[in-house]
């Protein structure tokens, strides 16, 4: 008995967060899926009920029979949804690539900095991540708009003679995503590069590699786990991004996060927004599972 109590207590360390995540993270997905098969109803909540428990088992069967794939059929009939999914994936892919292109040299430069400076540099990359996403996106509006600071600057130094139209276009969405997600790319690449044994490069150079060749043959492959983690940390949330396309994008910007938001808030169509979310989740399942594998591997690699 005296031994049983502590054993139970240490089990609680697993049971409590497990139960919490099951109930607040996993179960909701089944509810989303279930409601995506319901029909819109003018009621509160605005869908046909999930189960009518008052009618017992026959009531459950009754509501099963009412399940319909009508919302999914609706999604395939309206080309807008298909285009929104495709364009979200395209925008997320291009932004991920741009973020990598900008983030890698920063991470590389940080990893090469004098050891005493590194904690400060690291702090400076993390700090914007702690600053509100909304505020950081908002800050770009004043910079990018036609009479904004970027155009004022470019006009003043004479590079352009009429303002560039950037705000409310897809270019602004790219800038916004790259800017907001840059720390997510820099941090994993930096930690991969920082752990690297420098003597490997020296060895490669001693054996006659040029610095550039040594980079592509040794440094880059060794930093690949960081690159993969960074790309996933940018790509997956960017596909469902709402704030950036909503504030910086224009009418040409079609992204599924914004479609879902509008379907839910403006049209009040909960079943259709559930169907939109279910398909978005299906698209992201493979990258998410891949991300989890990368994470668990780095977790066991740390021991």
């Amino acid at each position: 008995m005296a031994k049983l109590v502590p054993a139970l207590v240490s089990r609680l360390v697993i049971i409590i967060p497990y139960a919490w995540l099951l109930f607040f993270f996993l179960v909701p997905f089944f509810i989303v899926f279930r409601i995506s098969l319901s029909q819109t109803a003018i009621a509160m909540p605005p869908y046909t009920p999930i189960f009518d428990l008052a009618e017992g088992l026959s009531g459950v069967f009754e509501s099963m029979r009412e399940l319909s794939a009508a919302n999914y059929v609706w999604l395939t009939e309206d080309v807008l949804y298909f285009n929104a999914y495709v364009s979200s994936v395209v925008i997320a892919t291009v932004s991920t690539f741009l973020t990598l292109l900008i983030g890698y040299p920063i991470a590389y430069g940080m990893a090469k900095a004098p050891r005493s400076m590194r904690p400060m540099l690291l702090m400076m990359v993390i700090l914007p991540f702690w600053t509100s996403f909304l505020i950081r996106v908002y800050a770009w509006i004043a910079i990018l708009k036609p009479e904004g600071l970027l155009n004022q600057f470019l006009l003043a130094i004479g590079i352009i003679d009429q303002p560039l139209i950037i705000l409310n276009t897809n270019s602004a969405v790219y800038i916004g995503i790259v800017y907001s997600y840059l720390p997510f790319m820099v941090l994993p690449i930096y930690s991969a590069l920082e752990k690297m044994d420098h003597s490997l490069i020296e060895a490669a150079q001693d054996l006659g590699c040029t610095p550039i060749k040594a980079f592509w043959r040794v440094t880059f492959p060794l930093s690949l786990p960081g690159v993969v983690a960074g790309c996933l940390l940018v790509f997956i949330p960017a596909v469902g991004e709402f704030v950036v396309p909503d504030l910086l994008g224009g009418s040409e910007t079609l992204m599924i996060g914004k479609t879902l938001w509008n379907e839910f808030n403006s049209n009040r169509d909960w079943p259709v927004s559930s169907a939109v979310a279910t398909i978005l989740l299906l698209i992201l399942v493979i990258p998410i599972v891949y991300f989890q594998n990368v994470q668990s591997k780095s977790e066991s690699g740390g021991r």
């Binding site: 993270f25 997905f29 505020i135 949330p237 978005l280 740390g302």
Partner: protein, 273 residues
């Protein structure tokens, strides 16, 4: 030792310029005399003093801080437990599912998390408002806490705790006397991270809120849609200031603790000896 080359210095400087310039400009223009946010017309703090008379804004700020404080505190407890479960128990039934549920919220698009939590709250008949936002924030921030604490636990010398257990301490006592003091800086930065994530969140709060509970990001968002104004710049500057202060304190605590770390671990041996 390799020299810090000019190319590397340049890429770090340009990168940091890109990261910080927009925020710096926003802060500067919050002190602008003119209502036009892109034309400088002299220094003024009038937008800040006007904030004090904006009742609905102050209410929203108060709701946000309470949600953030409550959710960060509970998320820290749950997240630390989750980190312990992942690091200390390498096998238990459903561990793969558990680690999946810890990592997935880190990348899950917010619209999905928000919608699914809302539908859960409606299905179980919970009144939407302050508490539903808090529950939602606990759920997604606890995973960030778990990752921060987990990385500290991995580098923690477990033999100290094992020694305490060998000497007859209960696991609970060993945790509070030995492990917790050592991982405290990570737990604290986890709390700060959870607090700021909750403070910032727009999408999940918008989905899970109900009548009467408007958070500051929701308020800012509805104003931003109408255009950039110096008042918003002023609120944002205050929020940035709070976050910068919190981050500085967190890093100072961590740094002081890092110095003391070895001394602590040695003291821990002494305590059980």
């Amino acid at each position: 030792m390799e020299r810090w080359s000019r190319f590397n210095i340049a890429s770090v400087l340009l990168g940091f310029g890109f990261l910080y310039l927009p925020i710096v400009l926003l802060v500067i223009f919050s002190f602008n005399e003119s209502r036009l946010v892109t034309v400088w017309a002299g220094f003024s703090t009038k937008w800040y003093s006007q904030l004090w008379y904006n009742e609905s804004l102050l209410n929203a700020a108060w709701v946000t801080v309470r949600v953030a404080f409550l959710s960060a505190s509970l998320a820290t407890v749950l997240g630390t437990m989750a980190a312990l479960a992942l690091v200390r128990y390498s096998r238990f039934r459903g561990r793969v599912l558990f680690s999946g549920m810890v990592y997935a919220p880190l990348v899950m698009p917010e619209v999905i998390t928000g919608l699914s939590l809302l539908l859960l709250f409606v299905a179980i008949g919970l009144d939407r408002g302050f508490w539903t936002i808090t529950l939602a924030h606990i759920t997604f921030t606890m995973c960030f806490v778990a990752v921060v604490v987990q990385s500290r636990l991995l580098s923690f010398d477990q033999s100290i705790e094992e020694a305490a257990l060998d000497l007859g301490a209960t696991p609970v006592r060993a945790f509070f006397a030995i492990t917790l003091p050592v991982i405290a800086p990570a737990v604290f930065s986890g709390w700060v991270l959870a607090f700021t994530l909750s403070l910032d969140d727009l999408v999940i709060a918008s989905f899970t809120t109900g009548p009467g509970a408007t958070t500051l990001p929701m308020k800012i968002y509805s104003q931003v849609r109408l255009g950039v104004t110096p008042e918003i710049n002023a609120i944002c500057t205050i929020l940035i200031g709070i976050v910068a202060l919190g981050a500085t304190i967190a890093s100072l605590v961590t740094k002081r603790r890092e110095v003391q770390r070895e001394r602590d671990e040695r003291a821990a041996f002494a305590a059980i000896g």
